[in-house]
Symmetry: C2
Amino acid sequence: MPEKPTILQRQTVAQSRLFRAEQLDLRFSNGVERRYEKLCSGGPGAVLMVPMLDPNTVLMVREYAGGLEDYHLSLPKGAMDKGETPEQSANRELKEEVGYGASKLDYLKCLHLSPSYMEHKIHVLLARDLYPERLAGDEPEPLEIVPCNIDDLLALTMRDDVIEGRTIAALFMARAWLARHG
Amino acid sequence: MPEKPTILQRQTVAQSRLFRAEQLDLRFSNGVERRYEKLCSGGPGAVLMVPMLDPNTVLMVREYAGGLEDYHLSLPKGAMDKGETPEQSANRELKEEVGYGASKLDYLKCLHLSPSYMEHKIHVLLARDLYPERLAGDEPEPLEIVPCNIDDLLALTMRDDVIEGRTIAALFMARAWLARHG
């Protein structure tokens, strides 16, 4: 593995309520210099849950996405609150978004969105042994809960309304993990 | 599916060389109003390739990621040039990054990064029947090409240096697609 580039300078170049962009001046180990930009992630991070209602059924949510300006079908997710573990965040978000708690949570993987220009990452947790419990969330409207069969993940992930890379990654990883670890 | 929210107002709230953030004032169909922000994607889009050296071996690249400030292992990808089809971009990027062209390209899926607050998406293409051909690219240093076996994708995607959601999604979708369509 090559030696990491030296960071010559780092400065904030844009900021809004939710986003902050940083400029990095880099010198690679071969001497080449480049200016990069990246989006910084504030806050304690995010969680994405794979909630299994039974061994073959995952609960997905239909939610409005501002970046898409349309609805799409994805796994439930949310921002961690300060001081929470990923497991605590996952259970709270499940209760808020899906109306279930989980007696069994397995940490699968930390996924990055686009590491080339974003710091953002999300913890993926498998949620099983679900029990009904609802907490009030901050959604502008109730999410539609859509039970989906995971036997044919290629068909599910080829659907026109299933478009989120991390949702698709988490579904396949969860199914492979379940097949191996049960 | 609910009626889409009405967009009451839209304005740019931050801009840098690479990023532009837009603020959306929305009124949901139930009357609730919310202020969202999203990152806009300029340009014609991006492509991500799953280059198969043989039926069991995918070519991955080890590249420095500015968002991570470290190296990681991912599928090769790049920005489309104006006027290119996804297939043309994929073949050019493969030649630049991996040193191969592909006689056979199959379009698999358009993946979104984080549709809740990003417009960014990437076209995923399966690349087969590879032949050696190198084009000069714009990388600051040559990428290390890492052949990986796809028989055990759970083990591959659980590696600490494999962390990109869309890479993991594309690997699993490609393997499932190959198993079905050959």
